[in-house]
């Protein structure tokens, strides 16, 4: 097993990375003085991975929308019991989530972490699906789909993605649809499981009140060696253009909400991280409360304190989103675009740029103050192909010209989409 220590130059915090003989990447952060432990066992498999093959396969397999999330639900059931019942014996709080590009199984606890870690490693490596339990789950997930349809934040976001992406599966709902989950059966679940739940495609991230040696010893006992079968995922070609520029849906909400998104060119690895930092700082510059643009919108009552931004990215997609509550989202859309034009013409205010960098740096330090955040940081950075402390380094090297270039090349009116949920009450 190869082991190396990654040190953060600013805080002195240390992370142990081990490449286990089974094929699994393991990240461990011992956090002195903390009582809790957060562990995540994740696979690089999410709702966007609907088309894939192994090196030995001739054809690509296409699976129904929502299957990664369905599989996550089903893996929580063992042959003889529910995984929650196992955690109930250790006191850990277990959970799982599926996002666009990953599925993770997690627990948090303050005692008996060794036992809980064994449970986590064992159940994720032991799938058990029958048609009967699959049928039952279709009912439960059907209810979850109905619930997400009542969630305006969810709707406004997916409506935006559907307007933005022609073919990329990021536009499909993570939970799928009633029709798509009806096509799922036990065989398909096993096929997806054995494709994506290969330890070479997975990562274990554990932080808090733990001992690295104990963690690695448990891994040695519980991990079953896996052969790397050369997984290939493929995404359909995606044009740079958007599908349509605007979408509005009416819902029984008290405040109308909006997402204004800019479709950008996707990147991977370190280039993605550099682009994310440039995009984050660009978005912060465009939404900073100290700017004239923000003040004008605020004083005119067009935005309120809910106005914010997000950089949303993964394999084959990259978007900068402005969101919030407003009855006049079109004014916000046009004002943000005018502000981008002005900055491109006049350049970036260096004082503002410096403050935003400082503020982002503070945010990264805060992240290292929290067991759960550290565990997530280690998993996410591994899946993104970068080191856990690379963000601070990339931020420190970021120049205002990088941000200006990003604005010029990526925040384009012809790649802009506005999604609105309009109130009916």
């Amino acid at each position: 097993m190869e082991k190396n220590i990654i040190t953060d130059k600013i805080t002195g915090d240390k992370i142990i990375h081990a490449k286990h003989d089974s094929g699994l990447d393991i990240y461990i952060c011992e956090m002195e003085g903390y009582s809790s432990v957060e562990a995540l066992f994740g696979t690089k498999y999410g709702s966007v991975n609907t088309m894939f093959k192994m090196a030995q396969d001739k054809e690509y397999t296409v699976v129904p929308e929502g299957i990664a999330h369905f599989l996550e639900h089903k893996l929580f059931e063992n042959e003889d019991c529910d995984v929650f019942e196992l955690y109930a014996k250790t006191g850990a709080s277990g959970n799982a989530f599926t996002s666009f590009d990953k599925t993770a199984y997690l627990f948090s606890c303050t005692k008996n972490y060794q036992e809980s870690l064994k449970i986590l490693l064992d159940f994720v490596q032991a799938p058990y699906f029958t048609q009967e339990t699959v049928d039952k789950e279709q009912g439960i997930i059907g209810q979850e789909i109905q619930m997400t349809n009542d969630n305006p934040e969810w709707r406004v976001f997916f409506n935006m993605l559907r307007c933005m992406y022609h073919n990329h599966p990021v536009k499909i709902d993570i939970v799928g649809t009633i029709e798509s989950i009806a096509q799922i059966n036990a065989d398909l679940l096993y096929k997806c499981y054995y494709t994506f739940y290969n330890l070479n495609n997975m990562v274990l991230s554990i932080a808090g009140n733990i001992k690295a040696d104990e963690v690695l010893e448990i891994c040695d006992k519980c991990l079953k060696p896996c052969e790397d079968k050369g997984l290939e995922t493929v995404f359909p070609d995606e044009p740079e253009s958007v599908v349509k520029s605007e979408i509005t849906e009416k819902q029984p909400v008290g405040a109308s909400i909006f997402n204004i998104g800019y479709k950008c060119k996707p990147e991977s690895g370190k280039e993605r991280l550099e682009k994310v930092m440039a995009a984050s700082v660009a978005a912060d510059i465009l939404s900073d409360p100290s700017t004239e643009m923000y003040q004008k919108l605020l004083k005119e009552g067009i935005i309120n304190s809910s106005f914010g931004t997000e950089v949303f990215t993964g394999d084959g997609y990259f978007t900068v989103i402005f969101s919030g509550e407003s009855d006049s989202p079109d004014v916000i859309r046009d004002t943000v675009s005018d502000e981008i034009d002005r900055i491109i013409k006049e350049g970036i205010d260096e004082e503002l740029f410096g403050r935003i960098k400082k503020s982002n740096y503070g945010g990264l330090i805060r992240e290292l103050n929290n067991v759960e955040a550290v565990a997530n940081l280690m998993m996410n950075s591994h899946m993104d192909g970068v080191g856990p402390y690379d963000t601070i380094e990339v931020l420190s090297k970021l120049k205002s010209s990088d941000v200006l270039d990003f604005m010029k090349n990526e925040l384009r009116k012809d790649r802009r989409v506005m999604s609105v949920i309009e109130r009916t009450v």
Partner: protein, 420 residues
């Protein structure tokens, strides 16, 4: 970790929690006052405006500029409901000075900003600056309107309104739109001055190093105020309605919501807490395992106990056609507990879950702050571990007794408009 509370003036406590592991500092000032529909909106505005600006940084823009230059330090305000009381708060958080690469004295900077926000706000001639006030008021009105955006949260707050009808706790912590609309900059300023004078105040500072500057600053500032603090009762049982009351609202939603509120006159809070864990507060609870997993009646179905009002609420997300079946099963599962159907595994799992939850308090600055504020309200300062020691003593008999004491008080339904 070191905890120390001193009374810096009559009904003003200053607590410091020092834990070397933290990379950030957190200061929370909580003003405790009565919850009343007549004052709730002015109180909320009077405190929420404090974090927008002060006499030195007179606009949101200037304040934001200052805070981002201090490595993204944050200040914010809140208004919360705690039983029959309104808890108004001001928080400031910033990274530890050892990470400030330009060598700023962040503690001193943040102490000064806090001092100016609380004791020298942007106000003149007895009223807040009208421009800042207009923005804060619109924000409050938007928060009130947006409550409906989160259907589960909205259902819970409507259920509280129904369950606590006629009590102060029926009032929401933001107040009604029509009341908030009437508040003027002078009303909000008067409300804040009254809060400074009459509220009980608890200040909690969580940091990695001991520092008396903040305590001295607060002592000095409060000494200038002629205080007439009131006494508040921190917990009060909600009386049971003579008949179960229901409230239904129809909305264009796909999933219906049902919130059942039970009340009890039992004083055995540890037993009720254990009962709630076994009944519906964990993924191995009776409600989760039966109502959701075995019978697929609800997507979520969970119980929560509020020791402040002695109430157990069960909230669920349910299809319209399953509402009656779900309601019957939720009541049936409570009957199972009353009949003594509690396994040793259920007891053990509830205990382990509680142990886990209490032990993790202290891993974030805010968890310390909330813990010691709640213990102050309880009138007994103990550590989470000392508090937990009460649970292993709870017997099945005490849980059965607690379950028998629960009486259904009211049910709130959010119904979909679609045909069944």
């Amino acid at each position: 970790m070191k905890y120390n509370r001193t009374e810096i003036s009559d009904k003003i406590g200053f607590s410091s929690v020092t834990d070397p592991k933290f990379k950030t500092n957190l200061l929370t000032v909580r003003f405790i006052t009565s919850l009343d529909s007549k004052t709730v909106s002015a109180n909320t505005l009077g405190v929420s405006i404090l974090s927008d600006a002060n006499s030195k940084f007179k606009t949101i823009a200037e304040m934001s500029k200052k805070l981002s230059s201090l490595y993204g330090a944050g200040i914010s305000s809140f208004s919360k409901k705690r039983g029959d009381l309104q808890i108004l708060g001001f928080t400031a958080s910033w990274i530890n000075g050892r990470y400030a690469f330009d060598g700023e004295d962040l503690d001193a900077e943040m102490a000064q900003i806090t001092r100016d926000c609380l004791f020298s706000p942007n106000a003149e001639n007895g009223e807040f600056d009208s421009e800042i006030f207009k923005i804060a008021k619109k924000d409050l009105l938007d928060r009130i309107d947006a409550e409906l955006n989160n259907k589960r949260g909205y259902a819970l707050s409507r259920a509280e309104e129904l369950a606590f009808k006629g009590e102060p706790a029926e009032v929401s912590c933001t107040g009604k739109r029509e009341n908030a609309e009437k508040v003027t900059p002078a009303d909000a300023y008067r409300a804040y001055q009254n809060i400074l004078k009459t509220s009980q105040i608890e200040i909690i500072y969580v940091s990695s190093e001991e520092n008396n500057t903040l305590k001295e600053m607060f002592a000095e500032e409060f000494a200038k105020i002629e205080r007439q603090p009131r006494e508040y009762v921190f917990a009060s049982k909600s009386p049971l309605k003579s008949d179960v009351e229901t409230l239904s609202e129809e909305l264009d939603v796909r999933q219906c919501k049902m919130v059942m509120t039970f009340k009890t006159d039992s004083d055995d809070k540890f037993a009720i807490s254990m009962l709630s864990m076994i009944y519906g507060a964990t993924p191995v609870s009776k409600l989760f395992m039966n109502v959701r997993e075995k019978m697929s009646l609800c997507y979520y179905c969970a119980s929560r106990f509020s020791a402040i009002k002695n109430v157990v609420a069960v909230d669920s997300g349910v299809e319209k056609s399953n509402i009656e079946k779900a309601k019957a099963e939720i009541l049936n599962q409570l009957d199972e507990i009353i009949k003594g159907n509690i396994t040793d595994e259920e007891m053990q799992s509830a205990l382990l879950s509680l142990d886990n939850a209490y032990n993790s308090i202290g891993d974030t600055p805010s968890s310390y702050s909330n813990w010691y504020f709640e213990r102050f309200c309880d009138g007994k300062i103990v550590t989470p571990q000392e508090h937990f020691k009460n649970y292993p003593e709870v017997t099945k008999a005490r849980i059965i007794q607690a379950a028998s004491s629960l009486k259904l008080d009211s049910i709130y339904y959010m119904l979909s408009k679609e045909a069944e």
